[in-house]
């Protein structure tokens, strides 16, 4: 195969086109897509059948669904689920931010500790970890706050301190932190080196460099992944049901355990999860738009 090719037109005689005559108004006919129409028809049929089933199959028991969808028990459970998500996300990303900068630091010790944390907390299944926290009182009866290895100033009974709810938040947050750390680190690495060089050359103080120059730019890379994590944590709260915390999935199980209406109550949970995930996606859209200032894409 020739590596170079001369333009064939170079030595070809200039082709004399038809003499310029009155250009007829030509109509453009777009290409047809018969296969696409077939696929559309097929998809429509399947969708229609599914919708028909939702409406006509008595097993869905839409009456029961409507009865429970907005009962106080369920609403309170939705509130608990949202609380777990909020605290888990806030604490998780805060700790994740610290871990990310530990891992990005020049200290081999801090780097190793952060890497070790990420290793362990990504390795231990969330449910195992949650049960550990739930049983913390078995390991440590009391928690003292004071001088390390020295006398304590405040002390708490572990059983009281780590109630089911705080054990759940702690577990979710520590689990989330490991993932958040890597997401934040990825975002920071995505910021061009030159930005830090410019900020350093201008004498901008270190913390302000991070807060004003690096993080806002890193956010563009962080946000889509972070949103994935928040949504996954939101649904992950259902695991907390093993600790008998009255979040959405646990409460639904309690109700259908009592009345035996499994399917409509699972639908109650499903619809709430779907609606709230939709709300989170809308929120994500607006936050991403905020951080896209000055960007061309």
């Amino acid at each position: 195969m020739p590596l170079t090719s001369d333009a064939p037109a170079a030595d070809a005689p200039e082709r004399a086109g038809p003499p310029p005559t009155e250009a007829p108004a030509l109509k453009v006919v777009p290409v047809r897509h018969p296969a696409r129409w077939a696929a559309i028809a097929l998809t429509a049929v399947v969708l229609a059948q599914f919708a028909h089933g939702l409406v006509t199959n008595p097993g869905w028991e839409w009456g029961v669904f409507a009865q429970f969808f907005t009962t106080e028990t369920i609403l309170r459970a939705v509130g608990t689920t949202l609380q777990l998500t909020l605290y888990g996300t806030a604490l998780g990303f805060l700790l994740g931010l610290v871990l990310a900068f530990m891992r990005l630091s020049d200290s081999p010790f801090l780097k190793t500790v952060a890497a070790g944390y990420i290793w362990v907390f990504r390795a231990v299944p969330l449910i195992v970890q949650l049960l550990f926290w739930f049983n913390l009182a078995y390991l440590y009866k009391r928690i003292d706050i004071g001088i390390p290895f020295g006398p304590g100033f405040f002390s708490f009974d572990t059983v009281n301190l780590v109630g089911a709810m705080s054990a759940a938040v702690l577990g979710l947050a520590l689990h989330q932190a490991a993932y958040a750390a890597e997401i934040v680190r990825g975002g920071v690495l995505a910021v061009d080196d030159g930005q830090l060089a410019a900020a350093a050359a201008l004498g901008i103080p270190r913390l302000r460099q991070l807060r004003r120059i690096v993080l806002p730019q890193a956010m563009r890379a962080i946000l889509p992944n972070a949103a994935n994590e928040v949504i996954s944590l939101f649904k992950g709260t259902s695991i907390v049901s093993v600790m008998a915390i009255g979040e959405l999935f646990y409460q639904v199980q309690v109700v259908y355990g009592r009345n035996g209406r499994v399917v409509p109550l699972l639908m109650v949970a499903t619809v709430w999860y779907v609606l709230l995930t939709g709300a989170l996606s809308v929120l994500q859209h607006y936050i991403e738009r905020h951080f896209a200032k000055g960007a061309t894409r």
Partner: protein, 253 residues
């Protein structure tokens, strides 16, 4: 006149590559020094040692009589804390080849960021000063634009205004026109010439020989981590003594 920059026996290696092999250079206050040389000759690295963006392996750099990046006590040099180095840098303006404007901040915010953050100026004063600087570089109407909405030449002029906002004693330019379309080079060089005529002390690393001839008080030719020769432009550009300088100039002229 006194020395603004004093570079003494500076060496620097990246791994096993010696980038600077003993550089001595003095830049007097109010003078323009243009550094020429082939790629990889160490000229950009040298420039970055002047504001301690690059640490030297040995030797020392002083700006306005003050050691950069270190404090001397007896015969020891103690590395300064980052906070103090950052403070030193506010006296030294740096303009990058690729501008490095902050893309998420408007032109005005780019210029006011350092005065507000590093010099603790009020936002109002900083903005008024920034608008005057924008006028000076001919971009008064672009204050609220984002960097990506500007041409390369305009971005570089904003970067110069950003460096000037700290009212530095010294300006360093690292190939300020190398990333620009040829037709945009002139507008940036005009701004730098204007600064030179007002007596700003600066070191300019560039490939623009015409600019060097017109503006430089001293031309320095570097190759392979060493200064081959230096002198007034008429001497270095028109009657170079070293074969290496002649060979370089014959290629770029």
């Amino acid at each position: 006149m006194s020395a603004m920059v004093d570079i003494r026996s500076v060496t620097k290696s990246f791994g096993s590559v010696e980038v600077l092999r003993g550089i001595d250079l003095t830049v007097r206050t109010g003078e323009v020094t243009v550094v020429l040389g082939p790629s990889g000759s160490g000229k950009s690295t040298l420039l970055r040692t002047v504001n301690h963006l690059e640490k030297v392996d040995s030797g020392q750099v002083s700006v306005d009589g003050q050691l950069v990046g270190y404090r001397r006590s007896g015969d020891k040099l103690y590395e300064l804390r980052e906070r103090d180095i950052l403070k030193q840098r506010t006296h030294i303006g740096f303009v990058f080849q690729n501008f490095h404007l902050f893309p998420h901040l408007t032109v005005l915010e780019n210029i006011t960021e350092a005065p507000v953050a590093a010099l603790k100026r009020s936002r109002k004063d900083a903005e008024a000063a920034a608008r005057r600087l924008l006028e000076r570089v001919g971009l008064a109407d672009k204050a609220d634009a984002y960097p990506r909405q500007l041409s390369g030449g305009q971005q570089q002029r904003v970067a110069i205004a950003r460096a000037l906002a700290l009212e530095p004693k010294l300006l360093l330019f690292d190939e300020p026109t190398s990333a620009l379309d040829p037709e945009l080079v002139g507008e940036v060089l005009d701004v730098i010439k204007d600064l030179a005529q007002q007596g700003t002390t600066m070191i300019v690393v560039t490939h623009e020989i015409g600019f060097a001839r017109e503006v430089a008080d001293t031309v320095v030719f570097m190759d392979d981590g060493r200064i081959v020769e230096q002198g007034p432009p008429s001497q270095i550009l028109d009657a170079p003594r070293h074969e290496r300088t002649r060979a370089f100039l014959s290629k770029v002229l």
